[in-house]
């Protein structure tokens, strides 16, 4: 069991290595993507500077606290799209019958699928997240917590993408539903939860797990709470198990399209 898990982990790392090597075929384009993504995220610094110029606190948060929120949103997005980019592209693979080549592999099918691509610009997001935590709230415990939440949040985002992507096993237009639900995490995750009314906040901790990706981790970084931390870990495990369960349940309905394709 342990050896199998170790082997699977090695396969994931190898997959990541080759994905990045493929992305780096055009080095100039790769570096531009990474650098411009950091700049792209940095534009939001102006937005928040302006908002805090109008009001000294927003939703009970100071400027540097909102920046940590932004850092978490960027790093979790980065982590999930570097390692599990295909989790966000599941619907076309399912709808067009392109899962065949993964079904014959001797390793875990879901992990093989979701680790088969990398988004190079997401490296810029991850770098931006760490720049933010170093600039605005640097300490060794904070850096460790930030890293832990980057991994947990990235796993939650990927698992949520697998869950919404798996709808395509049952729904024809599941791709649009999946895209929109995944966008909720990005759009809501970069604004403090306290600006929303309690009903919306409830949705953000249940139907769409933004609360466990960024809001709760931010609260823990600002005021450490072991119970809350264990809650985030338990939620991550739960949603990952649900993602595996739904994907394999849906996979029984999968039909190949006889499409000839090559994975390069």
């Amino acid at each position: 069991m342990l050896t199998a898990a170790k082997n699977q982990f090695r396969v994931i790392l190898l997959s990541l290595k080759y994905n990045i090597m493929r992305e780096m075929t055009n080095r100039a384009s790769f570096l531009t993507n990474v650098l411009f993504m950091v700049l792209n995220n940095a534009t939001f610094l102006i937005q928040w500077q302006l908002l805090f110029h109008l009001k000294p606190e927003i939703g009970g948060y100071a400027f540097h606290e909102v920046m940590v929120l932004w850092g978490l949103a960027a790093s979790t997005y980065g982590f999930s799209h570097i390692l599990f980019q295909r989790a966000f592209q599941l619907p076309p693979l399912i709808l067009q019958g392109k899962l065949d080549s993964f079904l014959v592999q001797p390793k875990n099918i879901l992990l093989s699928v979701i680790t088969s691509a990398t988004n190079s610009s997401a490296i810029g997001d991850l770098i931006y997240g760490y720049l933010i935590i170093v600039i605005f709230r640097f300490s060794i415990p904070n850096l460790l917590l930030f890293t832990l939440f980057t991994i947990l949040g990235g796993l939650i985002m990927a698992a949520f993408a697998v869950i919404t992507g798996s709808f395509s096993f049952w729904l024809v237009r599941g791709d649009l539903l999946s895209d929109n639900l995944n966008n909720v995490i990005v759009n809501f995750g970069t604004y403090p939860d306290s600006i929303f009314k309690s009903g919306v906040r409830l949705l953000l901790y249940t139907i769409v797990p933004v609360g466990f990706v960024v809001y709760q981790p931010l609260h823990i970084i600002l005021n450490f709470n072991l119970t809350a931390l264990l809650g985030v870990i338990a939620f991550t495990l739960g949603i990952c198990l649900l993602a595996f369960f739904l994907f394999y349940k849906g996979l029984k309905r999968y039909t190949s399209s006889n499409l000839m394709s090559a994975r390069i």
């Binding site: 055009n26 100039a28 384009s29 531009t32 993507n33 650098l35 411009f36 993504m37 700049l39 792209n40 534009t43 939001f44 102006i46 937005q47 302006l50 908002l51 110029h53 109008l54 009001k55 927003i58 939703g59 610009s121 237009r173 649009l176 539903l177 929109n180 966008n183 909720v184 759009n187 809501f188 604004y191 600006i195 929303f196 009314k197 919306v200």
Partner: protein
């Protein structure tokens, strides 16, 4: 000209078949509007009646209108088709056809956004009315100037986005440059009217595409004045000429660099 109108009409008819796809794409539009409206609602909760001369209703209408304009103009044809045509070399099949490639893309883009713009207009007005209980105070005589600014703004944005895509003749992937342009409009042009910026930054913002693409038309709808209408239209005409000339210039230069192998 007739062939481009035909392209526009054909694309429009094609897009009419996919209205449901457009409507499902509205979910992101609603989500962003919802976030922005909550944010402004919060910021106005304990401040006075005005922020930088805007009431809460005007500010929320400003966000709704600029977002409507931006979502109407957004189109993968401008951001990706030109780049992909250049990268894949398939532009070689387009430039030897009996039409101008640039005019073809513009006609196709306008055909694609026509229905979308109308739907976003209706959706935005419904959301705004639902949230605020009133519509922006627009009089009939103001409509021609507002429509002119909306059309000119759309064209300017089209030319600028196409210019960025044409950069693919030199750099393989122009996407990062699109991010920066889009973020400039989204972060600085959608959320805040020019007056919210510090005084020293306002002349700079007025010189950017934000003023002619989003701020100008939205400002005229929420707070019309003939002086502002003249100023916006004049700025747009200058931008129109410069951005179109720039697009044609770099396209001509880029095509000369085109080197297609194989068939």
């Amino acid at each position: 000209m007739r062939k481009y109108l035909f392209i526009l009409k054909a694309t429009l008819m094609e897009n009419l078949q996919y209205v449901w796809n457009i409507l499902l794409g509205f979910i992101t539009f609603f989500m962003l509007l919802f976030v922005f409206m909550n944010l402004w609602d919060y910021i106005y909760s304990d401040s006075g009646n005005l922020i930088s001369g805007y009431t809460k209703d005007q500010m929320i209408w400003y966000v709704i209108l600029t977002e409507m304009i931006w979502f109407s103009c957004r189109n993968a044809t401008l951001s990706y088709q030109i780049s992909n045509d250049i990268k894949s070399g398939s532009i070689a099949y387009s430039i030897n056809k009996p039409y101008n490639y640039i005019a073809y893309i513009i006609a196709k883009h306008l055909g694609e956004i026509a229905i979308k713009s109308l739907l976003f207009l209706v959706a935005g007005l419904i959301i705004g009315y639902g949230f605020l209980g009133s519509l922006p105070p627009v009089h009939l005589y103001q409509l021609p100037a507002i429509l002119v600014t909306l059309v000119l703004g759309t064209f300017i944005n089209t030319f600028l986005k196409m210019s960025i895509s044409v950069l693919s003749f030199w750099i393989e992937d122009a996407t990062p440059f699109h991010w920066i342009y889009d973020k400039m409009i989204i972060v600085l042009g959608i959320m805040f009217p020019v007056e919210v910026f510090p005084l020293w930054a306002q002349p700079v913002i007025r010189a950017t595409p934000i003023f002619v693409v989003t701020y100008g038309p939205a400002k005229l709808i929420i707070d019309y004045s003939s002086g502002m209408a003249v100023r916006v239209i004049l700025s747009q005409l200058i931008y129109f000429v410069i951005s179109l000339s720039f697009l044609l210039f770099i396209y001509q230069r880029g095509v000369k660099k085109l080197n297609v192998n194989g068939g």
